[in-house]
Symmetry: C5
Subunit: 356 residues, 5 copies
């Protein structure tokens, strides 16, 4: 998860459209999965080199080539050449610091978003870049690392679930983006559970909560990160919904409207998470301050009761030769009694004031 800029030096001074893979290599080996289908037939396989996919071009089927891993610039460059991708498009594919956006290059429609994942161990959100290139009869997708978020879509293609085998490549692109956005809800649910767990901890247990502040701060960062990532997804979806892209058919438009609606919900969820976390922070501060005040109050009252008693003891500790009380047999018990009375009076006074 980065909220700050990384890897700017690697790209600095390069010409626009230059192919430099920025950031860490996230997978060991590039993996290419190829699916080609129409209403009747389906061909699916893992290929070694992209060249294996090229013979299938030009057929009236829908071809989907998925590349896991972005570091093999040569391979991506070959793909780009074969499918006639614009240099700026390819530059964005290999640079994993993109903002979610849609770019219409005429021949191709390019959409880039982040796939989100909840890292249970580190208890934080992580994101990988996901690029979709929608062209005439083909969809190219590029993922930063192996992920299974697209598996349900493959399954639906295999099992002919819904309309996926009946509609074209634009529906496939939609279905992939829809799967990514559905993944957001899963991550949001996890984050929501974190927030609720934290709320429970803050509101109930009052003991030592050493790491609470760190947890709240981490959650706040998570939510800032989500906002930064998912806000643009909403714009992207709205832009797709507005239509006007040459690559998208009328039949798919209602689905894009649905996608946009989901993206809006995601964004609004993040907004209310933000408010929840900030509310938690306030409550936590107030409770901490209350607890501290409670301690200080009890101790100060404690001191306030003993101070006059000690004073009385001090009086009769004075060494004056002529102190009549000290000669009396009942002087000592009387002094003790005065102390008890003073303490009781003060306790009564404090209680009536509502302080204890």
């Amino acid at each position: 998860m980065n909220l700050t800029v990384k890897g700017s030096a690697q790209r600095y001074g390069q010409h626009p459209g230059s192919l430099i893979h920025v950031g860490p290599q996230r997978v060991e080996a590039i993996r290419i999965r190829f699916i080609d289908y129409d209403r009747k037939d389906l061909e699916e396989r893992d290929v070694e080199t992209v060249d294996e996919c090229f013979p299938l071009r030009g057929r009236p089927t829908v071809s989907w080539i998925n590349v896991d891993g972005l570091h093999d610039v040569a391979l991506i460059s070959r793909l780009a050449k074969e499918f006639g991708l614009h240099p700026l498009l390819v530059e964005d594919v290999v640079n994993p610091n993109q903002r979610a956006k849609v770019d219409d290059f005429g021949e191709q429609l390019y959409v880039v978003v982040k796939m989100l994942r909840w890292n249970e161990e580190a208890r934080r959100v992580e994101g990988d870049q996901f690029s979709v290139v929608l062209g005439d009869g083909f969809v190219l997708t590029f993922q930063e690392c192996y992920g299974d978020v697209l598996e349900p879509v493959r399954e639906r293609i295999r099992k002919k679930v819904g309309r996926i085998r009946k509609l074209g490549s634009d529906y496939l692109a939609y279905a992939l983006l829809d799967a990514v956005v559905d993944g957001y809800f899963v991550v949001l649910e996890r984050v929501g559970e974190q927030i609720e767990a934290l709320e429970d901890r803050i509101m109930t247990i009052r003991g030592g909560q050493g790491d609470l502040l760190e947890r709240i701060h981490a959650l706040r960062r998570d939510v800032t990160y989500l906002r930064k990532l998912l806000g643009p997804v909403r714009e992207l979806a709205a832009e797709l919904e507005r239509g006007g892209n040459s690559r998208i058919t009328e039949e798919v438009m209602p689905y894009l409207r649905d996608l946009s609606d989901h993206a809006i919900r995601v964004d609004e969820h993040v907004a209310s998470y933000r408010e929840l976390v900030s509310g938690l922070q306030d409550v936590h501060l107030v409770l901490m301050s209350n607890k501290m005040n409670e301690i200080m109050k009890v101790l100060t009252i404690f001191a306030a009761i003993f101070i006059p008693l000690t004073f009385i003891a001090g009086i009769y500790g004075m060494n004056f030769d002529y102190m009549p009380e000290t000669k009396l047999a009942w002087g000592y018990p009387a002094a003790l009694g005065a102390m008890v009375l003073t303490a009781a009076g003060l306790l009564f006074f404090f209680r009536r004031k509502g302080w204890i």
Copy 2:
């Protein structure tokens, strides 16, 4: 009331338009109520199966089918097929996590909002999803659970109050939405009472208010929830008002303008509630801090008066052989007098400073 995402796992990986009911089943048995009317005639009954409603289709009357409970996917699927509903529309009907919105599917206009209810026991707002499908001569409504918010509309149909029997299905759809929005005002009045009660408690009673913080926090959550829910209703109403929907006649437009006006008022009320609650929170903090400070001040002054007295006592408690005062008969009363004078002087000084 959920502010966080729930049930995302159930839907994850499903194809768009798949019919999966998400979330808890809120009613035991589906209940179907059927009303069919025109200017003269009225037929109203509870039906067992949706098939009973179908023979009435195609007549120039207005048919209203109300389904309470969303878990019987087969039934809703039958309705959808009979009335030619779009798969995405049906998907939204059975998924009770929708954001208020209007979707124009050409043949049908789909509106989904939340009905709100004030839960007196838990002292919080609760919401159920309410879907309206407006088609040619029919209105279908789907509620999450049995509710009586629509009963006044039925009553008006029965008694021919207003223009409801003279206008078409679009007016019926409007009347239903209007009833839902009127329900918002009732809930807002309850929340407003809560806020005012809390304000009274904060401003007047100063004693132990152990749960005040929890109450303020709960109210803040309520208001956040209302804002999240009702903000989109305003947009929805504005979109309806702008018109351009094929299913809505010119005669009904002024009513939609009125609806939009109500929705704006709802939204502005929520905005000022938000400000009120946040103001309450500030005032509460300040009052708590004032009270704490008051206690600390009194106790510190208390200590400050006794400290010099104890010091005087300490002096005459020293065991020097040669302490002339201790030999004098009036030494002891003089010391006591000095103590009283010191205390009086300090009290006077503190009072002149305005500290007590």
Copy 3:
């Protein structure tokens, strides 16, 4: 003044356009004032029943009927029938919870705003609903209670001041709204005086200011109330200025632009009042905290000086048999001297540190 929703139950379940007067009856008896004028002639009288006004309809004069009090639904209903008012318009007239707005019903233009009044006793702002219906040759106005804010307009009609007798009913409607908006400035001046008086109190007097917090809170509520009420007036005026209303002639447009300009100024004044009050609140908190800190600091220093002195006294209060100092004649004065020196040293140290 209500910031929260009231009276929603009374309207709940009513059909749109139903005539139910909501809220308290604010005047004892309905009062109807009638003015009819053209360039030359003027007729003015108080009428008992609305029917007295009807014979004058259809003449090329401007008729202005003003109704004080909203509870006589029958009367208003008669007026509505005679002048052909839309049911939704009449519903809004009798429901005093309207948001400022303009509604163009074609035949009539309906404008509803709040008249504001400064209640000197309760030191707070109060508002009454004011409805203007502008029709062909007539203006109907409805006030919640008797008010004299419209008197200057009557005076101008009587004395032919300005262009009021030369222009039509649209100018009259403008003049009435202008009078209402001018009244806002009077109220804003009062509120501004309150803010400045409070600022003076906060910045100068430092003594007991028990009710300051309540006053600031009240002012904040006032400003929130003004913002809620007057924000929509700005929109309303902008909408009138944009024109396109059939009932408004070209000649009156510059006046509406002027009205809009005033409404913007009102809104901006409220915005800066809001900032002022929130600034006051901050300053008040800081000053209160400073004062508290000052007290605590003085008292703590006080204690810090006596603590070592008491310790010295404690040493020589010990009962060891062999304490050489206690046998010396100058032991006692030396101990006292040590105490004085210690106190002086501490005072000097604290002063050099800048603490006293």
Copy 4:
């Protein structure tokens, strides 16, 4: 400088377009300066009565009449009649509470802004109203009091600097507004110096800073005032830049774009001043609280060290007959030694904890 509404009572109940001068009379005598020029000739003089200017009307020169002082309503009324000004325009000229705005009255273009001045003595910003009426071949300007901000423009006219003598009355109006906006930068520079001086004081000197809070509060008011005044100037300039005003020629448009750019910069400067002042306030609070905490900490540690020592002294001050230590010759030095050790141990402990 007023942030609150003043003088509303004077105007209340007046008809729109009535000529009432509101607010204090700022100059003793009205002063009228008249300049008439074309490419070749220039006539400049101070006139006693406005009538002296009228014979020059209708010539193809540019006439500029500047009136200092707004209280002579009769004079302004004469001017208005001669130049055919709209009543609403004149009303705005004499009412010095205008919001910066541009009003196109067809025959004349009316622009009203505030001239700002830094009052070095009171160390605060002051503003006077400046009205510009641009008509066919003439420019009328009205100032609240004598000011020299327009002198550079006169100088440029006299010395034929730049294009001022080559272009028409619209360029003159632009040049005057540009001079006013340039004056804003001078005032902003002064305010910026105040902010930086305050920042230095806050960050360096830590001693008694009694008036810091007042200074910050005053600066905050200044910035609020600037924001209220200059925000509308930005809108005004943008409106002029958008063009469409009949009185402005194509040649002057780039200059208006430049003016708009300056107004945007002014507005953005005010925005960042606002942030700076609010940042200062935060830092000031934190530093004050740190200082207070530092004092309290030292004093509390002080007390914490003496409390156990006094306790030890208390033990040996007890009067038990059988206390073996008190009989020993080295009992007293041992007790003193124990005290020293205790104090040293506590000091060491506090230091290791990083508290001192």
Copy 5:
């Protein structure tokens, strides 16, 4: 870095379009670099006077003249005359207080932005003004001081990298702006490192952190500065992307879209930096307050334990003749035991309360 206005006095009273260099002279000598190229040929040299560049005008090549240093007004004035630049354009070039903007003067397109630099020593951001004038076949650039941010572009021209030698002067202008915006990412990365370093310091080390507050304040200023500078760059890029500028060809439009995308990312990064810094400030305050509270709590508990013990000692320090306990042999050990028991009881009580 200035956040406040500087040098306004120098420009005050000047006519629009006057050539006055404002602010400090940043370089000793003006340096002029000249590059002229087409697809095949390239000529590059440093020239002494601008006149050396003029003979090359009119050829179908792309000429790029870069001027480092803005103080030689005569030189810039010569350039302006030769290339027919508008006076307002030249005025903006020599005044280094410009807001990032694009101005279309028809013949030339003028873009002004800031180049950013991270000053490692002062650990803060610095900015120099960079002006680009795009004309027919030429690009003029003006820098405040010598910089190497454009060197990569020169290198690409020399080595024919990418499309720079194939496209015209508009692509060159784009490439220069792109280089500047790429430079922003480098600076943002540095600032991001500062933020993360600070976060580490705040979250881990708890000792004396004297300058933390100053560092946070400085970072906050940096981020405010970046926001003020880079917000307009986003607008500028959006305006370029919208197109409609006569000087920009269709082929370059996708690149401008890319530039706009980068500018949006820059702006969003700054926005999240702002949130991060403000979050850090909150966390820092809370941690400081926690630490202070921890100290106060320990010391207060410390005092609370000794106060009753000292009271017990005080009792037996009283000089009553009849105090039976003092006569007993085990009186002293019993008193000591009572003290130990009291202390243990209090420690147990405080621990059970969770206070220690």
